[in-house]
């Protein structure tokens, strides 16, 4: 089937080439957006949401291709070595910055292998617990966790996952080592939290908001600088005295180093247009997130974000002493 789509793509390409002399410049054929995670996951969902709208303004179809594996580094490596013609791009999340430290031998040089298109969205995270977890509010939660650090368990979706990163920050902010229980993905981790097999977790609102609303788990705080519209009653981590715990799972679009500036410009413009779309905003709101503002959906903003995030996570990961290879 993949072959068929590609075949269809190629025949479309043939048609396009016929009229290439007339159509001035990029893009003249379909663009592949590599998502370095499996289809159906939160990153894939974000990619498909924006890819559909970006296709409209570019006038060419953007095909999402899932190249999962090795914490997103396989897909990123694929794009790093792809032809820099603007027809292959990468949508990756915060893992782009953390894998620079988590993986000691990467096939690509994170800071020098890519050109930048822009930030897409920053998904907030929530501190949650099983529904019968004792503490009533965030203040009680913090002191309870500190006192009972030995007997509490903290779930995460595997090394390098958003929940793992947030969990590391949480332990660092509290200066309390908590027994960490890794799972293979968010699904099984959330299942055990629902079943009361583990105590707490810190995960993206994408995964937690509906469970919290349904009363199957309990939420204590959000990791954003401001309170969230979907959880007006939840304090921010800064309000709870843990400012170091602010974290968001930011997503960005990259292209291989050396992509023509015109292509980057058009991609950025298309990204900004997609993010300004009401339908995209509404669907992101359902997930407890929001499109990045236009000034962040730019190459400069993404580059600055990546650089600062690599610097931020390096000491955190090194202190935890956890590596993925």
């Amino acid at each position: 089937m993949a072959q068929f789509t590609r075949f269809a793509g190629l025949s479309m390409l043939g048609l396009m080439l016929g009229s290439a002399a007339l159509a001035q410049g990029y893009p003249e054929r379909q663009i592949t957006m590599v998502v370095p995670f499996s289809a159906g996951g939160p990153t894939d969902t974000v990619a498909r949401l924006v890819a559909e709208k970006m296709s409209e303004s570019l006038g060419q179809q953007i095909i999402v291709e899932n190249v999962g594996g090795a914490g997103g580094t396989l897909g990123a490596g694929r794009v790093a070595s792809a032809e820099a013609d603007g027809y292959t791009v990468l949508l990756h999340h915060i893992g782009m910055a953390t894998s620079a430290t988590l993986y000691r031998s990467l096939a690509y040089d994170t800071l020098n292998a890519f050109d930048y298109v822009g930030l897409v969205t920053e998904v907030p995270m929530t501190l949650v617990a099983r529904k019968d977890f004792e503490p009533a509010d965030m203040a009680a939660f913090v002191s309870y966790v500190k006192e009972n650090a030995d007997s509490i368990t903290l779930a995460n979706a595997g090394i390098g996952a958003a929940s793992h990163l947030c969990g590391m920050l949480f332990m660092q902010a509290l200066d309390a080592p908590i027994v960490t229980v890794p799972y293979k993905g968010t699904g099984p981790a959330m299942t055990d939290l629902l079943g009361g097999q583990v105590d707490i977790m810190c995960d993206q609102t994408t995964n937690t908001s509906e469970q919290v609303r349904g009363g199957t788990i309990k939420a204590y705080a959000v990791t954003t600088p401001e309170r969230l519209e979907i959880f007006p009653d939840l304090p921010t981590v800064a309000e709870a005295g843990l400012p170091g715990m602010e974290v968001a799972i930011w997503h960005g679009i990259y292209a291989p180093k050396g992509t023509p500036p015109e292509a980057i410009e058009k991609l950025s413009a298309a990204l900004q247009a997609a993010l300004a779309d009401e339908g995209v905003a509404a669907k992101m709101a359902d997930l407890g997130t929001a499109p990045s503002p236009a000034e962040d959906a730019t190459p400069q903003a993404l580059q600055a974000k990546l650089e600062s995030e690599i610097d931020r996570w390096k000491p955190v990961i090194e202190a935890a002493g956890v590596y993925a290879d």
Binding site: M1, A2, Q3, T5, S38, A39, G40, G41, D44, T45, R48, L49, E52, E65, N66, V67, G68, G69, A70, G71, T73, L74, G77, L102, A107, T153, G158, I159, G160, V179, V181, P182, Y183, K184, G187, P188, M190, T191, D192, L194, G195, G196, Q197, V198, T206, S209, E210, Q211, R213, G214, G215, T216, A282, K283, D286, L287, V322, Y323, A324, D325
Partner: protein, 500 residues
């Protein structure tokens, strides 16, 4: 009655012309995907996702669900005809189904598989409709300790009741376990047995292993002898099961359905066990265990019913909790989110038309599938008459496309070739691939849950016996072991092996 009004709402949603159409499309596509070896449901659904954006949420879910259970019907087709299972569940069907085909009973085997699947689908759909919430509560009681004990029971029964030589079966399970260890350790991030190759970071590819060890190996074996290319039997025999066959399939079908329904509810890979477990149970209960592995009707009916029942009930965690039980379910979550419905515990109460519509469509889809598949049997069986010089290259091409489509990774194709060779060597050594596959699938789960249970229990191994469900499962494991070690049973079993 709440149930009746709910089901009425469901059927009125699912039976609109548009939704019936998408249900049919889904079932058809699923059958096709299942029949084409190697092309997985996950890849198909991933590719169809963009199309579903344009549909109503209910219609798109009905279609995607149709693809999923349609593939369960179709998957057994190639397993039976050419010994090529596309999914772990149909690997078990291949054992006796392929033998039936070689005995000229391909049509019968296909009909048994379709009828068994339909019965299981109907029963399991009802179960989903009536018992989804209470079953969810039970499923949530399954923690790491329970999963470990369940997997242990599965493995022990598989070894104890393997057909053929026990040392060889044991060796195959262990080889499977070892292959399952390849990849990054999820607890420490330490790479294991990857020889520095990044492509091994997430372990070996299951589809590549199954396609290589079963399909490619079978082709190689057939190519080595000009005269006896028995992969394709020209003699087809009767298409429909005889009264005798129907009588033989009834009990296994029911047992398989119950077993599959129960295991399918567990979100942590319980469904994987369903068809293996059903096969083991049938062989144990059979009055003529020596026919197993040589074309036993019960060896097809039991596992086929179990895997279809499991496929239906694996919707339960998704529908009641919003938790995907497998990669296909994860894709459906993605499809729902893009449609603006975030899956979670509220879907049933806030979107009753969607919730009950999907459930009702499952039954309609199963009915369509059986109506669709029975006449198709004649067509599938004619596939066997395609000359090998046409069939083999086609099989190879489809396998390669299918395996590649999962991760768009060329490396996976090398894996297929490598496992094909391994499978060929195994055939030469007269070792069976099914226990290897079971070890490969269960090994990582066994380890993952053992270590998680130990972490949660602070290193105290007593967690396995102090938790009642886990203790019960362990007790059952011991019973299985004792039964096997009892002299009388052993004598009986050795009798069975003589023929090998």
């Amino acid at each position: 009655m709440d149930l009746f009004s709910n089901l009425a709402l469901g059927f009125s949603t699912a039976a609109t012309p548009a939704n019936l159409f998408f249900c049919l499309i889904g079932a058809l596509l699923g059958t096709l995907v299942g029949v084409l070896p190697g092309i997985g449901v996950t890849a198909t659904i991933a590719m169809l996702l963009p199309i579903t954006f344009q549909l109503e949420p209910v219609s798109s879910l009905i279609m995607l669900a149709g693809i999923y259970y349609g593939a369960q019907y179709g998957g057994s087709t190639t397993a039976i005809l050419i010994n090529l299972p596309g999914e772990s569940s149909s690997a078990v069907t291949a054992i006796d189904g392929y033998q039936m085909a070689r005995n000229g009973k391909a049509g019968t085997a296909l009909a048994i598989a379709a009828l068994g699947s339909f019965f299981a689908g109907t029963f399991a759909t009802l179960l989903v409709a009536i018992f989804a919430p209470p079953l969810t509560i039970i499923a949530l009681k399954f923690g790491a300790a329970e999963y470990f004990s369940l997997m242990l029971l599965g493995l022990v029964s598989a070894i104890a009741l393997a057909h053929g030589s026990v040392p060889k079966a044991l060796a195959m399970v262990v080889l499977g376990l070892l292959l399952g260890l390849v990849g990054t350790d999820i607890y420490t991030g330490t790479p294991r047995f990857n020889f520095g190759i990044t492509n091994f970071a997430d372990g070996l590819n299951f589809v590549a292993l199954a396609v290589g060890v079963f399909g490619i190996a079978e082709i190689l074996r057939n190519l080595e002898d000009e005269r006896s290319r028995k992969v394709i039997t020209s003699q087809v025999g009767s298409l429909f099961p005889s009264r005798e066959d129907l009588r033989k399939m009834l009990a296994p079908m029911m047992r398989g359905t119950v077993l599959g329904s129960a295991l399918g509810v567990l979100p942590g890979g319980g469904a994987i066990l369903a068809s293996f477990a059903a096969y083991t149970v049938e062989k144990r209960l059979s009055k003529e265990p020596h026919t197993f592995g040589k074309g036993a009707v019960a060896g097809v009916a039991g596992p086929e019913s179990a895997n279809n029942a499991g496929a239906q009930t694996s919707f339960i965690p998704l529908l009641t909790l919003g938790i995907p039980a497998n990669p296909v379910m994860a894709l459906m979550v993605g499809a729902m989110i893009i449609q603006g419905i975030v899956p979670g515990p509220n879907v049933a109460s806030e979107q009753p038309a969607l919730f009950w519509g999907v459930i009702a469509s499952m039954w309609i889809g199963n009915l369509m599938l059986v109506i669709l598949n029975l006449p198709l049997i004649g067509l599938w069986v004619r596939l066997l008459k395609v000359p090998y010089f046409v069939l083999f290259p086609i099989i190879l091409a489809f396998c390669s496309i299918g395996v590649y489509s999962v991760n768009s990774n060329v490396f996976d194709l090398y894996s297929v070739a490598m496992f094909g060779l391994l499978g060929y060597v195994l055939i030469k050594l007269r070792c069976e691939p099914a226990p290897l596959l079971l070890g490969f699938v269960l090994g990582p789960l066994l380890e993952e849950n053992l270590r998680r249970a130990m972490i949660l229990g602070r290193g105290d191994p007593m967690v396995f016996v102090t938790r009642p469900i886990s203790a019960t499962l362990l007790a059952l494991t011991v019973v299985v072991l004792i039964v096997v070690l009892l002299p009388s049973v052993r004598a009986k079993r050795e009798e069975v092996f003589v023929e090998d």
